[in-house]
């Protein structure tokens, strides 16, 4: 019986660390997946969100550093993300331009611009987004540290709720979904399909940009060239995992974030085996879900019909 308390205490520590980490690591996931969700609902895939994420992380850090206010940085991150996504939207509206290839090109351009312009920002410290302390009730320093919630996380939850509501019951949301489900119908009603998609891509870029701000202004909380580990690219998988529902994006982001936090949490209690394998769990899980739910005879449930990848 003597080993039990330590084991359970260890397990509890890991659990708390994973829960806190799920929110900390999951916030950028949440933002990019919401951005990607909006883009895909309108019928386009933006693989360039990786570039958007890195570029906006740099812009957000720069904005916060130069202005002294983290919220100016957040705004700068959102706007720069929107700008880059706008480019994707416009280029993809040209005839015969493939959105997947454009996304990869944008990824290259975004990271290139971020590394180029962000070179002077690697050393300095920028004011950070304040954390919301949810762990004040606890005596344990560990719990309190784990429950320092990124202020952008509740904003992300709010965006997810607003998105879910807007898709269901606003004119804009319905038109956006129509562009994604049947461009012919949208055209017949006199809407510009390309216009809607450009607007959706830009809005998605803005939200993904907030994810970039979360990276550079909260966790890890500095600007360097290895900041993003592919969160922008994997947003596409996340959205499929969430079956194009903003609310399920929230759950998926927390799951992906938690999986990302599991490795370090186990490492902190001395288990260093399989660090990378834990990171890969969400990808394998998504693939298994795809294999499970897909069928050659019908498209994925909930997928926008115009989307090149849903079929």
């Amino acid at each position: 019986m003597s080993a039990d308390p330590t084991t359970s205490a260890l397990a509890l520590n890991v659990l708390i660390a994973v829960l806190g980490g799920a929110i900390r690591v999951g916030t950028p996931f949440l933002m990019v997946s919401l951005g990607e969700c909006i883009t895909e609902k309108a019928g386009r895939i933006n693989l360039g969100l990786e570039g958007v994420l890195v570029f906006s992380a740099m812009a957000g850090f720069g904005g916060a550093y130069l202005s002294g206010s983290p919220w100016v940085g957040v705004l700068a991150a959102g706007l720069s993300g929107a700008l880059l996504a706008l480019l994707h939207g416009i280029v993809c509206s040209l005839p015969r331009v493939n959105d997947i290839a454009t996304g990869i090109a944008l990824m290259l351009l975004g990271t290139g611009l971020a590394f180029y312009l962000g070179k002077p920002l690697i050393q300095p410290q920028a004011p950070q987004i304040p954390a919301i302390a949810l762990g004040e009730w606890s005596n344990s320093a560990q719990v309190r540290a784990a429950l320092q919630i990124n202020a952008l996380f509740p904003i992300g939850v709010l965006i997810a709720l607003v998105c879910a509501w807007a898709f269901r019951s606003t004119r804009f949301g319905l038109v956006l979904r129509m562009a994604g489900d049947s461009s012919d119908a949208a055209r017949a009603l006199g809407y510009s399909v390309n216009g809607i998609r450009i607007a959706a891509t830009t809005l998605g870029g803005f939200i993904a940009g907030l994810g970039g701000a979360s990276l550079s202004l909260h966790y890890p909380g500095s600007w360097n060239e290895g900041l993003s580990s592919g969160q922008g690219l994997i947003a596409v998988a996340l959205v499929i995992f969430a079956r194009w529902s903003p609310l399920r994006c929230l759950g998926a982001a927390l799951l992906f974030g938690g999986a990302g936090a599991l490795g370090p949490a186990l490492q902190s209690v001395g288990i260093s085996q399989g660090y990378y394998l834990f990171n890969a769990v969400p990808y394998v899980l998504t693939l298994l879900i795809l294999v499970w739910t897909c069928s050659p005879r019908r498209s994925l449930k909930g997928a926008p019909l115009e989307l090149g990848v849903s079929r």
Partner: protein, 397 residues
């Protein structure tokens, strides 16, 4: 002067990308100029660093070798109608297989041993991407997404194995596998720094181009990719053709990883995960999924990569300037595709045919009108109609 649709197509396929490239260089010049540097210096250094002398050429060609192979991992499946973007996964697994074979048995430390290593690399890559094709044909899982997911899984596996089971205890700062024996490595061609991997890339591009354009199997592959329904109607075994195309592409990417390990890194470590797979996607799209065009495009972009350090040293700009240039170039080249079939069409066809309608009012109007139309649209999409539309919903199966 009257141009045939074929020659118009040829002019456009060469002219448009070149014009877009010039535009990208111009844009890059403006970008550098905003940073207070001379754009002319930047252009000169770019050329010097990429193709200025033999040393730069060697550097460029060395960088082009893996790009050719990873581009084939996109181009060959694309000809069968699949957009595979997970070449990075096949590349790292290829590198792992190449570095891992000596753990199983000791291959002879000569060219035969190297061939075994590369074979293992190609097999690993082929299996990985073939899985993408199998999943798509068997379960209808979208190949773009599954290949991306598999790439991330492969990278995680790679890091796990390199830092865990296969780690060389002697590699302290940078976890790596055991270094390949001297005799197993790939050296330079003809006393140069350019390793034999370039030859593999060239041969693969040329041979797969021949396979695609001059063999029955290649023709069948292009039918499956061009029109899935037609392929079904004539009874082509679509599943087999698609899986084979994926396996060929994956083998190329795996080979790229094996060559990178055997010629450059000498062991498998995290430096292998350098985005070569993603760069290959763009090379393939710029080359319009044509294996032969992959060669010059890969050399060009290898050259840009090679010029980076010279730009950094001499002009004092961040080394990411090359990434910016590549981003501009790819974006503009992709966008320039929108102009295809439009440069010559209005002047070459519709103007001369217009008076014909006016002059002969008694002639039945429908007979003369259609003449102007089909010549305009026939030449537009070379090679890959299924991919060209991007988002046009592929017919429901």
């Amino acid at each position: 002067m009257k141009l045939s649709p074929r020659s118009i197509d040829a002019i456009e396929s060469v002219g448009l990308p070149l014009a877009a490239l010039a535009g990208a260089l111009l844009l890059f010049g403006v970008f550098v100029w905003f940073g207070g540097k001379s754009p002319v210096d930047a252009w000169a250094l770019l050329f010097k660093g990429a193709f200025g002398d033999w040393f730069s050429w060697q550097n460029s060609l060395q960088r082009a070798a893996p790009l050719m192979l990873t581009a084939l991992c996109v181009a060959i499946p694309a000809r069968a109608g699949l957009i595979v973007i997970g070449g990075e996964g096949a590349l790292v697994l290829g590198g792992l297989a190449c570095a891992g074979l000596p753990y199983l048995f000791a291959p002879p430390a000569n060219a035969f041993g190297t061939a075994l290593l590369l074979l293992a690399a190609a097999a690993a890559g082929a299996a990985w991407i073939a899985l993408v094709g199998v999943l798509r044909q068997w379960r209808g899982v979208n190949e773009t997404i599954s290949s991306l997911l598999l790439a991330y899984t492969a990278i995680a596996l790679f890091k796990h194995i390199v830092e865990g089971p296969m780690r060389d205890p002697a590699s302290l700062n940078k976890p790596s596998t055991r270094t390949l024996a001297e005799g197993l490595r790939i050296g330079g061609m003809f006393d140069s720094d350019v390793h034999w991997g370039l030859l593999f890339g060239l041969v693969a591009c040329v041979a797969l181009g021949v396979w695609l354009f001059f063999t029955t199997q290649g023709f069948a592959t292009r039918i499956v990719g061009g029109n899935a329904r037609a392929a079904r109607l004539v009874g082509l075994p679509s599943t087999r053709i698609i899986v084979v195309a994926c396996a060929i592409g994956g083998a190329c990417a795996g080979l790229a990883g094996g060559i990178e390990v055997a010629a450059v890194h000498t062991n498998a470590n995290a430096s292998l995960v350098a985005g070569l797979g993603y760069a290959g996607i763009l090379v393939a799209f710029v080359a319009r999924q044509n294996p032969w065009l992959v060669v010059p495009v890969a050399v060009l972009f290898g050259g840009f990569g090679a010029a980076g350090s010279l730009l950094q040293r001499r002009l004092d700009v961040p080394d990411a300037s090359v990434l910016v240039l590549q981003g501009f170039a790819f974006l503009l080249i992709l966008a320039s595709d929108a102009l295809r079939g439009r440069l010559f069409a209005p002047t070459a066809q519709s103007v001369p045919s217009a008076p014909a309608v006016v002059v002969e009012p008694p002639a039945p109007a429908p007979a003369s009108a259609p003449i102007a139309l089909p010549t305009r649209s026939g030449d537009t999409i070379a090679g890959h109609p299924n991919l060209a539309g991007g988002l046009t919903p592929k017919e429901a199966t």
